[in-house]
């Protein structure tokens, strides 16, 4: 027997028991407790369970659980009255046939109506209301769980889509520079191809991994900046300052990489004489990591919106962090002197928000 079924029967047995107990108590107050009343109540008990179970059968048979509320209400009413009358007739008959000392019920329609039909109809109506309320509540909970799960999977999909893809503009330019290097400096051309592979590898891996260590991420960033240096030559200089103790901190893959790409795309590549990219990281307190990407140039949100790629990288990164960490993360971007500064703050210990995934199992 499933949990739901067991719960149903338990409620039936206890519910009707409480019901007859209530009547017994009422009779007790009136001082009318005798063997007749007790056997009469036992009959009531059996008929109550039997008819309400039959009512459930009807409800299921006619698919009333899937009906709209305005269709259900009149049907419940009719069903309750019908069952109420049946109960009254059954009990009346049994009482007349077996309890000889009691007054005849079936020959007095008025008494029958007043004493049995109305109370039983009300009782069955209450039964129906409780039954439907339970079912609706249960469905609502199920729906809720389904929605949560749906939202979680949508977030997963969105995260997947947001995972930074390599900028094709960068790749083609890099390949073009490497091709020129093949004649000029074959050694450096080979190194360039190796770096390109390393970036492609981490870009592909970022689709599978939710987190990488800061050390791995900075390796990718270095390969990326090395390649851009082939292209920009003396126009690009870069430096890192990452304390060794932070190497093992986990962060979403390609996060720093995306901001480094922005630094090149909107900073260095717009400056005829080039500039610097400086990346450092520090622990703000016990739980927060700050990574700072600085580049020469000026941040101009209006101009950036106008450009063809309109800062998708930054928007995506923000959304990714929001999905992964909620409000515990931030990306701030601002000008300071002749530099653009981009500060990322994320929790030192990552926690996946998709913890309720195991609901399924």
């Amino acid at each position: 027997m499933s949990d739901e079924k067991a719960l149903y029967w338990l409620t039936q047995v206890i519910g009707w028991f409480l019901f007859v107990l209530l009547i017994l108590f009422q009779n007790f107050l009136l001082g009318q407790v005798d063997v007749g009343i007790v056997s009469f109540l036992i009959v009531n008990y059996v008929i109550g369970i039997g008819l309400s179970h039959f009512m459930r059968f009807v409800i299921l048979q006619f698919g009333m659980l899937r009906m709209k509320i305005y269709q259900v209400l009149p049907r419940i009413l009719m069903l309750s009255v019908g069952t109420g009358v049946s109960a009254a007739v059954l009990i009346g008959t049994i009482s007349d046939l077996f309890f000889e000392d009691a007054e005849e019920i079936m020959v007095m329609p008025f008494n029958l109506l007043l004493e049995l039909v109305v109370p039983f109809t009300v009782v069955f109506l209450i039964w129906n209301i409780l039954y439907f309320a339970t079912i609706y509540l249960k469905n609502y909970e199920k729906e809720e769980v389904k929605n949560l799960r749906l939202e979680a999977s949508m977030n997963e999909v969105e995260l997947g889509n947001l995972r930074s893809q390599l900028n094709p503009h960068f790749m083609f330019n890099a390949l073009n520079s490497i091709r020129a290097l093949v004649d000029e400096n074959p050694q450096e051309a080979k190194a360039g191809i190796t770096k390109m592979s390393s970036i492609l590898r981490s870009s592909l891996a970022s689709g599978r991994k939710q987190f990488v260590t800061l050390e791995e991420e900075m390796k990718t960033v270095q390969a990326y900046l090395d390649l851009e240096k082939i292209r920009f030559e003396e126009r690009l200089n870069y430096s890192f300052d990452i304390p060794a103790e932070l190497n093992s901190v986990q962060l979403p893959p390609m996060l720093v990489q995306t901001l480094a790409e922005n630094a090149i795309k909107h900073g260095i590549s717009d400056l005829p004489s080039g500039g610097d990219v400086i990346i450092d990281a520090r622990r703000l307190n016990d739980s927060i990591l700050e990574i700072r990407v600085m580049n020469s140039g000026k941040y101009d949100p209006i101009k950036r919106k106008k450009s063809t790629s309109n800062g998708i990288g930054l928007t995506n990164s923000r959304r990714r962090l929001q999905l992964l960490y909620g409000t515990k993360s931030n990306i701030a971007i601002y000008n300071e002197a002749d530099r653009v500064i981009c500060d990322i703050t994320i929790p030192l210990t990552p926690k996946s928000r998709f913890a309720y995934e195991d609901i399924d199992s």
């Binding site: 503009h169 083609f172 073009n176 520079s177 091709r179 020129a180 292209r231 920009f232 005829p272 063809t308």
Partner: protein
């Protein structure tokens, strides 16, 4: 063809120059790393063809072309994918993608070469007007994300609008940041005539002329627009047409 390479990356210029070595008709006369250098070289060297990178620091390739009085044949060189270029709606645009494919480059050069020969034979008759634009010269127009190379003979008229000039051709009328007076100096008045303070009209587009008030004239263009020739310009206008 005397050719100029414009790209901000040294290696990209080098790569393109080495690819161009195998084309006999191409003679690379100079390489420029930014729009400023390119503008000077174009004004002084008057190259026949430029290979132009679109993304450059400072001014983009499009911005450079907008400022030019004399626009050589242009082949864009870009790492953008072609869909991104099409977004700019540059018509009659030729471009090669980085890294450059040799076959694609050969195609582009062949096309430019054919157009060039065509124009050369046309040009024989009108080469004496030093410094002025001929009917077969092209200018570069940009309006928002739309760009056009327009051959002068396809332009119906120019209209002055404050500091700008509106250029009418086909169904388009983009604005350019130039004064009508400057434009008038660059145009040959046998082709384009200043009919009044506001308009310069392509003489070949005039369909109908009739006398108008105060000794002026009213002209009707092939496309249906009617314009007035001021009294001051009317006699000179009659002289030109009676030739």
């Amino acid at each position: 063809m005397r050719t100029l390479i414009v790209d901000d990356e040294r290696l990209a210029r080098k790569e393109l120059a080495s690819l161009l070595e195998q084309f006999e008709e191409i003679e690379v006369i100079d390489e420029c790393a930014n729009a400023d250098e390119a503008r000077k070289a174009i004004e002084s060297e008057k190259p026949d063809l430029i290979f132009l990178d679109i993304q450059m620091p400072g001014e983009t390739g499009f911005e450079l072309l907008e400022t030019l009085d004399f626009v050589p044949k242009v082949v864009f060189v870009t790492a953008y994918d072609e869909y991104a270029i099409k977004a700019f709606e540059v018509n009659a645009l030729d471009y090669v993608l980085k890294p450059v494919e040799e076959e694609r480059l050969a195609e582009a050069i062949k096309k430019v070469n054919e157009e060039f020969k065509e124009r050369d034979t046309d040009l024989e008759t009108t080469t004496e007007n030093e410094g002025k634009l001929g009917m077969n010269d092209q200018i570069f127009l940009k309006d928002g994300d739309k760009c056009w190379f327009v051959t002068l003979k396809d332009i119906r008229m120019f209209e002055s609008e404050g500091n700008y000039v509106r250029v009418f051709f086909e169904n388009n009328k983009p604005l350019i940041l130039k004064s009508l007076n400057n434009l008038e100096k660059r145009l040959d008045d046998k082709d384009f005539f200043r009919i009044n303070r506001k308009f310069i009209v392509n003489l070949k587009e005039i369909n109908h002329i009739e006398p108008w008030f105060n000794g002026g004239l009213q002209i009707k263009l092939t496309t249906g627009e009617t314009l007035e020739v001021s009294r001051r310009q009317a006699s000179r206008f009659k002289d030109l047409l009676s030739l």
